[in-house]
């Protein structure tokens, strides 16, 4: 090796580590400390309050509503997205066993499906606020055009429909990305395996369940974790789209919004940090659980 190695390493690593230490590590570390104080932003006035912030969280109706809503999103959004994406990916790669390559137009579908992934949450929020507008919005207009005028409603103003409306946007935006991801995984299944299944008389459904799904399971697992993280957020969409925001009747309140409001509207920085710490442990636990629960025999091909 050449001389000057240490000088090079120090020169190269000093700036990124300083940047990372100041803006990432130190805030995370401080958050764990602040969560145990009653700090309200004034210098020198942070008293240690032990677990008081955390016990207060469990009787805070708003926070509990937020947890419930994030929980519902966590149940519905990843599941719906993955089922839809697997379905479309299976359709896009269908017939690989008896034809060469995908069918015509398969690439065009992928191009179109993927695009919403590129839209920022702010754009999604504004766009779908319009889509859900009661009088001249696209959704009600579509329902009327289809003769389903009785189903039209003020989507974001009714407590029962506001949260599903938000979740629909998440699913709408995410499906295409996972179609592309799953379709790529499905295409890497060796053709002779599919052919063998077909010769053995396996139908499309059996083939999907017995061969395709086990092959792409790793990818599904990754998708589940990513979508779970997405469902635990939801802040931007809710903050931009919903009435209140978080309404009506806290129907769309999410943890991120409660935290943001506690900190930057009410100045309860210690309390907000306790929410952040809680959110962190929830995320960590769920990620570990999801990875464990979905663990299966890996399919290895030599």
């Amino acid at each position: 090796m050449r001389h000057g190695k240490n000088r090079f390493l120090i020169g190269a690593l000093a700036a990124p580590l300083l940047l990372y230490g100041v803006f990432v590590v130190s805030p995370y570390a401080q958050a764990f400390y602040l969560a145990f104080t009653d700090w309200n932003g004034l210098a020198g006035q942070a008293d240690n309050v032990g677990f008081a912030n955390f016990t207060a969280l469990w009787s805070d109706g708003l926070f509990l509503a937020a947890l419930r809503n994030n929980g519902l999103m966590l149940l519905a959004v990843p599941l719906l997205t993955i089922v839809l994406a697997l379905f479309f990916a299976a359709l896009l790669t269908m017939g690989r066993s008896d034809r060469h390559g995908g069918f015509r137009g398969s690439g065009a579908y992928r191009i179109v499906y993927f695009f919403p992934q590129l839209l920022s949450v702010a754009i999604l929020g504004v766009l779908f606020q319009f889509v859900y507008t009661p009088n001249n919005g696209l959704l009600n207009g579509l329902l009327e055009a289809l003769g389903l005028g009785s189903l039209t409603r003020s989507w974001l103003a009714e407590p029962a429909w506001a949260l599903p409306a938000v979740m629909a946007v998440m699913v709408w935006a995410a499906v295409g990305f996972y179609v592309v991801l799953f379709a790529a995984a499905m295409e890497s299944i060796p053709r002779d395996v599919l052919e063998a299944a077909r010769l053995d008389g396996a139908g499309r459904l059996t083939t999907f369940r017995r061969i395709t799904l086990p092959f792409v399971w790793d990818t599904v697992q990754v998708a589940y974790v990513y979508l779970g993280i997405l469902a635990l957020d939801g802040f931007a969409l809710v903050q931009i789209m919903t009435v209140g925001p978080g309404g009506p009747d806290n129907a769309t309140e999410v943890v991120g919004l409660t935290l943001y409001r506690a900190a930057f509207t009410y100045g309860e920085f210690g309390y907000a940090s306790a929410m952040g710490v809680t959110l962190f442990f929830i995320t960590l636990t769920l990620t570990a659980l999801a990875l464990r629960a979905t663990r299966r025999e890996r399919v290895e091909i030599a």
Partner: protein
Amino acid sequence: MRRKATDAVLHVVLLGWAALVTLPLVWAVVSSLKTDAEIFASPWSVPEAPQWDNWARAWQEAHIGRYLLNTLIVVGGALALVMLLGSLTAYCLARYEFRGNRLIYYALVAGMLFPVFLALVPLFFVVDQLGMLGTYHGLILVYAAYALPFTVFFLHAFFRGLPTAVTEAAFLDGCSHTAAFFKVMLPMARPGMVSVGIFNFLGLWNQYLLPLVLNPDPDRYVLAQGLAALAVSQGYRSDFSGLFAGLIIAILPVLAAYVLFQRQIRSGLTAGAVR
């Protein structure tokens, strides 16, 4: 015969989702060219004459043009910074043995596990104390810092995979460590740099939470922030057509990039996910 019938059903189902994806976007484009009266009349009406004035109004009066410029400055600066620092860090960690190497690597990668919400409150005060609230350089540094973990993680694997013989040859030719990195290794890592660059660009372009908290100055608003503020502010509510136009202007750069580089963008983003 049977295959033809199945193919038809297949296309109907697939077209159904394609329509669901494109319809809101097409509708927004058409609405951005209507008058407010036409928008209120019916979601299906076609504009009598395209109101390009809406676009001009959004660009000028609603400051979409300025927000776009702010976004370009902040995202461009942060992207350049994180690509430089991230590739350097990844290269050092992947190719040099030294004490603390593993520690630094895991400390960086662990950054991907933490929700940004956890850091939000202290981060605000850190940036405030540095006097960087509402400044371009403040946002650039924070963006770069939060994009660093993934960049290092992704490129670390990439640099590991490059042959060692090449650097050794470069050293024999009298290359310094710095020159070996910039002249030899970095060009070899180009495919990885492109993937992670696209990933970072979109991630930073779409940032909403960080600017919302750290960038309170309306003159410095980034696009996502400005657009959301417009939609929320009641005063602007009366100008639906202008807001639609602003929305379309905000979508266009990404759409243009996608049309030009759709293959690279899709593979870049999906490669980022399976790592």
